[in-house]
Amino acid sequence: MSESPVLKRSLAARLSDGRAWPWLLLVPALLLVAAVVLYPTLTGMDISFRQMRLNRPALGTGYIGFTHYLAMLNDTVFWVALQNTAVWVVVTVVLELLLGLMVALALDVELPGFRTIAVIVLLPWFLPVVVAGNIWALMLDARLGVINAALVNLGILSDFKAWFADPAWALPAAILVEAWHGFPFFALLLLAGLKGVPTELYEAAAVDGASLWHRIRHIQIPALRMIIVASVVLRAISLMNSPELLLILTGGGPGYSTQVLSLYAFQKAYREFNFGYAGALSVVMFLLLMVGSWVYVRTSNALKD
């Protein structure tokens, strides 16, 4: 008994000196990813070609070809959701990028107290969506919302407004909440990027007597270009993929005014148990994402030259 740990250790130690060692280290992670990402994703693609209604088992789960995909073409909700998804992703990313860039440029100046401010600014990103969503639901509430009260006091609004009940305002209000939640992501990455700009560049600009705007436009933003491209792709992907905030704030309503693809797919599965159609919707989403990111990276590379 006393020898077995020694034996074990020497086996691991011997393995660690073999050529396969770097690969052996990867095995647990690869197995996990294969089991919980790749296999489910492939199963999801398979499901999208099947009839699969969990609440109607009598229909069976046989293959039905492209039926779900063809049904999408005549599904008006799908087209509305597609349009809303585009607005939701593009407007939110642009807004978050601008907010993040502004605060990163300011915090890069490095003044007393800015370390603490940087931590405070990051806070929203670490808050759970459930809390973030309900905080804003409280502040925008039609009866007791503090934002409504402030706007009325300032004379901007004549009366308290039910932001999430108005089809014209529900999506913009949700975008505001998401921007609050997500702009620290850009602030974090852009600030890290700004710290890496060589000081010689600034010194040269100072000698030339460059203005603040000139410095931002011609030194700082070009230096951040790669980070901006990468962070925009990452953020757009996560916005497109996660319906959580809209699920909490509006559930897609009023009407379909805040319905997006990810939320629509989730509800098809969660509420209607129509897993086949939900699978097809998410496959379409996946394809749009892949094509979208590819086109975006290509054009931003082309513009660089």
């Binding site: 809390v131 990455l189 699978g279």
Partner: protein
Amino acid sequence: MHRSRGEKILAYVIALAFAFFAAFPVVWTFITSLKQEKDIITRSIRLLPDPATLHNYVAIWTQSNLPPLMWNSAVTSFLTVLICVGAGTLAAYSVSRYRYAGRNHMLLFFLLVRMFPLVLMVIPLFIIMRNIGLLDTRIGLALAYTGFLLPIFIWMMKGFFDAIPSELEEAARIDGCTRLGGMVRVVLPLVKGGLFACAVFIGIGAWNEYLFALMLTTSGGSRTWPVGLQLMVGEFQLPWGALAAGGMLSILPVLVLFALVQRSMVRGLAAGAVKG
């Protein structure tokens, strides 16, 4: 670098405005949680609670099932961290230290995995987990979380490993250490700060998660607090004061852990994402 006085003032104004924008909603929730319900449901909004009361905290803690919900979340988060630290540290060490054919593809693979739509994963996961009996269990949920948290962990941890000079292991090898010994006894102690920060990041991610938990848990035995709290809001018309108190209690661990490791966590996140 020299900055003009005007620039410094502008930087302060912008920084303070953003700090207010970021913090006000949380501060407002805290204030609301200390108010009596009749002072919340009013149009004549008072800034400070008068009198301040802990009544809402007592109510949500004793009269709802928040404590077991938070316990489920804690167990699930702990399991997620355990799996990620175990499998992820080894993988990150491999891609950081060794040069072999396919290494870059491996890194790209872990980045691409993050792009798979969660909805596309969660629908089949529901069916798969139901078939193998992991649906509505905390370990099943934790395994599902590793799908999107493990790749982030590997990217962050790689950054911390990269910062340790590999001469250290070479010296250990000359002293007769095996590669395993060099990794465990020389490198791991040096990255423990980074490792802790990455673990906290993963833990926060699992603690906060809503969508997977909503789909993959169906009963009180494994339901996590975000699902439970949202259920209370939707079905039982939770009073605002109690909701605010519940929200504050649930983000308390996040705030404490974030404050503890924010500096190295931020460094790891920036490195992982920038290089990606």
